[in-house]
């Protein structure tokens, strides 16, 4: 269990150097929730779009008198049509994420949380609505949402491997899944397909410990999952290395493939690296035009 305040502050620190992240609103016809994403045409919104000559149907109170005073015609301020994007986060909180191979490294969960919340902070600063998958935290905007999100992200799960919930994903919204993706791929696959069906695009970020990439083991070893539920005993761990790496590569490949077919982005991040890299990638991935 991480202290939500600490998590918040580290996430703020991580997010600080980046400009507010404005996710592109791709298509939100049915998303009636309005946000700050200008549609480049007049509509409901807060931001000034253009002056146009007042029409007969315009109410008098809509006339911009300051502009109208400089000419003979009355002008009306058109607001830009703005909608807010909803972004759903899923940060794996399962036991497997709590692994760290070295005291100097953050656990995968810590890194995942930080990245997730940092993204959320950037998005909220950009005026987006951010929420969590499932029905735990529907997308909302504002600082209060961040506090709540930090609170929820700090909870740990006892299951070995986490699976995303596809519920609560608004159609045509965006999603971000952060996990090690070491558990069963089926739920993830289902979730992704379901999301794709709903027109949800997003990014998969795989967070791995360097040891999980290197497999530097030798000798007789019993490998246990973090909860101890799964066990595998080997007498020569060194011999397994090649096959383990093959499987890991295959899994990444599968995820990549899955992401490509569903229009998602996939990236692997190691806890040994700086979190900023991953955040930059997330920035890019969520900003990307469809």
């Amino acid at each position: 269990m991480t202290d939500p305040l600490t998590l918040r502050s580290t996430a703020e620190a991580l997010a600080a150097p980046l400009p507010p992240l404005l996710a592109e609103a791709e298509h939100l016809a049915s998303t009636v929730l309005l946000g700050d994403h200008g549609r480049r045409r007049a509509g409901t919104g807060d931001t000034f779009w253009q002056y146009r000559p007042a029409q007969a149907h315009d109410e008098a109170r809509t006339i911009d008198w300051r502009r109208s005073a400089r000419s003979d015609v009355n002008f009306v301020q058109d607001k830009e049509w703005q909608i807010a994007q909803s972004i759903i986060l899923w940060v794996d909180q399962a036991a497997s994420m709590s692994f760290r191979s070295h005291d100097n490294l953050p656990s995968k969960a810590a890194r995942a949380r930080t990245l997730g919340l940092a993204t959320a902070i950037l998005l909220i600063r950009g005026g987006e609505r951010v929420g969590l998958t499932g029905l735990r935290l529907p997308p909302r905007r504002g600082e209060a949402q961040l506090m709540q999100m930090a609170q929820l992200l700090s909870l740990a799960d006892d299951t070995d491997y986490g699976a995303p919930e596809a519920q609560g994903m608004l159609p045509h919204s965006r999603a971000l899944f952060i996990s090690d993706f070491l558990g069963d791929l089926k739920p993830i696959e289902d979730a992704l397909l379901k999301a794709a069906d709903r027109g949800v695009r997003g990014a998969l970020l795989q967070v791995l410990d360097p040891q999980e990439e290197a497999f530097p083991f030798d000798g007789r070893t019993i490998f246990e999952s973090m909860s101890g539920a799964l066990q595998h005993e080997t007498l020569k761990a060194g011999d397994l290395k090649a096959r383990y790496l093959d499987r890991l590569a295959a899994r990444k490949d599968r995820l990549q493939h899955l992401a490509r077919t569903t229009g998602w982005q996939f990236q692997t991040h190691h806890t040994g690296e700086s979190g900023t890299n991953a955040l930059l990638w997330l920035y890019g991935a969520l900003e990307r035009h469809a």
């Binding site: 497997s96 994420m97 692994f99 995968k108 070995d160 491997y161 090690d180 070491l182 558990g183 069963d184 410990d209 040891q211 999980e212 497999f215 530097p216 083991f217 030798d218 000798g219 007789r220 070893t221 019993i222 490998f223 246990e224 999952s225 973090m226 799964l230 066990q231 595998h232 005993e233 080997t234 007498l235 020569k236 761990a237 060194g238 011999d239 397994l240 096959r243 383990y244 499987r247 890991l248 899994r251």
Partner: protein
């Protein structure tokens, strides 16, 4: 104790545990190494993967072998293995341990004593009464049985003697006690050995301890055909043996030296080897003994006596104008008589005296020139022997008529006399028997020796004592007078057959021998020795060492004549009268024979094999193997990772490489410091100060390189505790307030450095704030450091100090600060300025210290790009000050390297010119 080969076991039953090893092997094999449990989220990917090979299911065979070996070592270790176990000698009853105790055993005497000691220890365990008897030094009375422990205390007093046992059988026959005998033999046969063996066997069992080893005996040398023949005999006769024989004697300074060494080779199967030594007579006559190199035994030493000496005899005749009449030559008979036994010198008297012969024979020489007389007299007084023969010239001369001539023993009456001739009365005179106090005493007087003419001695109160041979009528034939250490002898007849037929007789030769003009080639016979007493001058001990024998009683001539060394005639050099006689252990005909024992006698070796308990070694091996097992198990189990592996590898590397690395670095340091001139600074422990000192010396080195013929390499920092200082001509020592005081060893090193011409420049670097000697922290530290240093009295650099002109002409010695308080070794008190000279002649050497506080290093310091690191002063005057600081540095190094070269007055005119005076 149960034993296999040379290894015995204290607890052999424990070895049965070895049977369990195969079982253990199987058991251990079945137990794989304990697995490591690892939390690893990636386990999901591993599920379903199977191990390729199942070998590591079991412990690897080598690890298994390691463990089995460790356990085997432990089992064997606890079984108490002992190398060379000593089975205690059985036996009861009284025990006699005999030692031959002759010179042949001397080289390995300690081994014999050790053997006796172990035998005594065993006897003590068996509680036997024991007697240790040296056959060469038989105790008086009964067999001295005592407790073995008592004998152990007395063992150091049992020493070998330089002769062979006499008749111990008779001594043992005194009593009829029964005892067992351990006989420690020297390996040489001797006369009464068989009798003794029979006697001992009648008392009890006899066990002989003997090691076959070569015994070499050096026989007396002899003189043949101008060569010294050295021969040696050996026993047992075996393969070829090469050794060296060394001739030892006094050198002209009276110091004993090896005069010559010749190889001596025994051919295989030969008992005797001979070699010849060709030596100049001067060298040969100085030989006192021969030794076989590297053997400590009296048998390997052969003393020389007169037999080897060949005296140098100079012959001078007064009448050599009668060519072709050889038989009438006054020297003919002398030459014939002396040639076999002496070296004859011819020449003029001056040349002869330079050669310092033993004897000068003047045959019918009447008078010598004045200077010759003096020099001959001096030579006689220094031990020379002047032998004069009469003759017509002497008879005709006035020599010694009126006053005694120092070169004649008696005064002579004029004319001499003739008897028995055609024109005279009487018969030719014969010789009277020699008196007892005459050196010729004992020589038979042939009847047919007659004298027809002689010179007559003036009757004189001292005449009687000077006569050593006379005629039957009482007239002197040979007279002698001792002069100083030498003597003057006059034979009152001619040296040829003109006046007497004495030179034709054998008596003539014998008389010459007795006079020690010539040396006799043969040993004196018993009759000759009868009644004489000989004093031991030097005696040999069994180890072949010469000892002073003056405390020993004299030896009767009869005993000496036998020539067999024994308790009453220890081998050595005996002196009687003017002769020396050597008694050697080995005679000219001695053959060494090996002691042969009957087959019934048990013969054991001399070697003592010490028990060596192997338990400790084996248990250590066990521990070591187990330690290896720990590391190997960790490696096999995959646990040797991360910090553990680092630590293990570091430990191994440290053990393997550390000493070499150390040695390497020391060598590198020495090479770096000595291949070129290197300026050095003392490391203070303060990194900044050290860096600045380094940079300063670098700047100075570069300046020296550019401006002078001194081309120093990069400066180095020197740790005065660990580094060698002798490589450096100059040490710069920046004094910091908090540097530690040098250790005692470092002080010793520093003082040695200062005394042997090194220079240390102390820099307190505080001249901006403190005056010299005032209480700045650095100043106090300098005082503390210098308290134990060997620093002479110091003074501020005087204006005529050589430092002011070794390269540049300077009067200021600034560094970063321009204080004038720079101190060097004080000039001697008596240094006076000579009139007209600008400089005093100051101390003859390099000042060992320069003490100041001007922070020279900062003024000199340059960085790696050659840029000045610290500002000095302001503007151009500051740069000038820096320049002067460099010049001072150059002067210092010049002073260090060239000493007081500029202190001389050679350059005075130039210097005066440049000084504008």
């Amino acid at each position: 104790m149960w034993s296999i080969g040379p290894i015995g076991f204290v607890a052999p039953w424990l070895l049965l545990g070895l049977i369990a090893l195969p079982i253990l092997w199987i058991l251990l094999r079945a137990v794989p190494p304990a697995p490591i449990r690892r939390r690893f989220p990636g386990v999901a990917l591993l599920l379903g993967l199977t191990d390729d090979e199942n070998q590591t299911d079991r412990t690897p065979w080598w690890l298994l072998l390691l463990r089995i070996l460790a356990i085997a070592a432990a089992i064997i270790g606890f079984a108490g293995p002992v190398l060379n176990p000593q089975n205690a000698r059985e036996g009861s009853g009284n025990l006699v341990i005999l030692l031959d105790g002759s010179w042949a055993g001397a080289p390995s005497w300690q081994a014999r004593i050790d053997r006796v000691e172990t035998l005594l220890t065993e006897a003590a365990l068996a509680d036997r009464l024991t007697a240790v008897i040296n056959l060469n030094d038989l105790p008086v009375g009964e067999l001295p049985f005592a407790a073995p422990s008592a004998w152990q205390n007395r063992l150091p007093n049992i020493l070998p003697k330089p002769w062979q046992p006499g008749d111990p059988a008779g001594w043992f026959a005194q009593s009829d006690e029964a005892f067992e005998t351990y006989w420690i033999s020297d390996g040489l046969d001797w006369a009464g050995r068989d009798d003794l063996l029979a006697e001992l066997e009648s008392r009890g069992a006899v066990t002989v301890f003997q090691t076959p080893r070569q015994t070499v005996g050096l026989r007396p040398s002899r003189f043949e055909d101008g060569q010294v023949i050295v021969s040696a005999t050996r026993s047992p006769i075996g393969n070829a043996l090469d050794t060296n024989v060394t001739a030892i004697g006094l050198d002209p300074a009276g110091v004993e030296r090896q005069l010559a060494t010749v190889p001596l080779s025994f051919a295989p199967g030969d008992a005797v080897a001979e070699t010849a030594m060709v030596l100049p007579p001067e060298l040969r006559n100085r030989i006192t003994r021969f030794e076989v190199s590297g053997t400590r035994s009296a048998g390997a030493v052969s003393l020389t006596d007169d037999a080897l000496k060949r005296r140098e005899v100079a012959l001078i005749a007064g009448r050599d104008d009668r060519e072709g009449l050889e038989l009438l030559s006054p020297l003919y008979y002398l030459r014939e008589a002396l040639e076999p036994t002496a070296d004859i010198i011819d020449g003029t008297l001056e040349d002869i005296l330079l050669a310092n012969p033993d004897v000068i024979i003047l045959a019918d020489v009447a008078s010598l020139a004045g200077t010759e007389t003096d020099s001959v007299l001096e030579w006689v007084e220094n031990g020379g022997m002047l032998l004069r023969f009469a003759g017509p010239r002497l008879a005709a001369s006035d020599m010694g008529r009126d006053a005694a001539d120092p070169l004649l023993p008696v005064r002579l009456r004029s004319g001499g006399r003739s008897v028995g001739g055609a024109m005279s009365w009487g018969e030719p005179k014969t010789l009277a028997p020699f008196a007892e106090d005459s050196p010729f005493y004992g020589l038979p007087v042939p009847e047919d020796v007659t004298v027809t003419s002689q010179v007559m001695a003036q009757p004189d109160p001292t005449l009687a004592e000077r006569v050593i041979a006379q005629l039957t009528d009482g007239t002197p034939l040979v007279t002698r007078q001792l002069v100083g250490e030498g003597q003057v002898v006059l034979v009152h007849v001619t040296a040829n057959a003109e006046w007497s037929n004495l030179p034709l007789s054998g008596l003539f030769v014998q008389m010459l021998e007795r006079l020690a003009v010539s040396t006799r080639p043969v040993q004196p016979d018993a009759t000759e020795l009868e009644g004489t007493t000989w004093l031991p001058n030097k005696v040999l001990d069994a180890y072949g060492r010469l000892e002073d024998g003056s405390a020993l009683p004299g030896v009767a001539g009869e005993v000496l004549g036998l020539g067999v060394p024994g308790p009453d005639l220890p081998p050595g050099l005996y002196a009687g009268g003017d002769r020396q006689f050597a008694i050697n252990v080995i005679g000219a005909e001695t053959l060494l024979t090996v002691a042969q024992w009957p087959a019934r006698i048990t013969i054991e070796g001399m070697d003592i094999v010490r028990e060596t308990a192997l338990k400790g070694w084996l248990l250590s091996a066990t521990v070591l193997l187990l330690l290896i097992d720990v590391i190997a198990s960790l490696a096999v189990g995959g646990r040797l990772r991360g910090p553990r592996a680092d630590v293990a590898a570091a430990l191994v590397l440290l053990m393997l490489l550390a000493p070499q690395a150390q040695a390497q670095s020391t060598d590198d340091f020495a090479l770096r410091a000595t291949t070129e001139v290197v300026l050095a600074h003392v490391l203070t422990g303060d990194p900044e100060t050290d860096d600045i000192a380094q940079a300063g010396l670098l700047g100075l080195s570069q300046t020296l390189f550019r401006r002078t013929s001194i081309e120093p390499a990069a400066p180095v920092g020197v740790n005065i505790e660990t580094d060698e200082l002798a490589f450096f001509p100059f040490l710069y020592w920046p004094v910091t307030a908090d540097q530690p005081l040098p250790s005692r060893e470092a002080y010793a090193k520093l003082n040695r450095y200062l005394r042997t011409g090194g220079m240390i420049m102390f820099d307190t670097r505080d001249a901006d704030t403190a005056r010299f000697g005032s209480g700045s922290p650095e100043g106090r530290k300098l005082q503390a450091i210098a308290r134990s240093l060997d620093i002479p009295s110091i003074e501020p650099i005087p204006s005529d100090h050589v430092l002011t002109r070794t390269f540049y002409l300077l009067q200021d010695f600034p560094g970063r600060y321009a204080s004038r308080d720079v101190w060097v070794e004080a000039a001697p008190m008596n240094a006076e300025q000579v009139e007209g000279m600008p400089f005093r002649n100051l101390n003859d050497g390099v000042t060992p210290v320069i003490i100041g506080g001007n922070d020279w290093a900062r003024a000199w310091a340059v960085d790696n790009n050659g840029r000045r690191m610290f500002p000095v002063g302001r503007g151009m005057s500051g740069e000038r000050q820096r320049e002067i600081a460099y010049r001072f540095g150059v002067n210092v190094i010049m002073h260090v390297l060239t000493g007081n070269y500029k202190s001389d007055q050679v350059h005075v005119p130039d210097l005066l010119d440049r000084l504008g005076q």
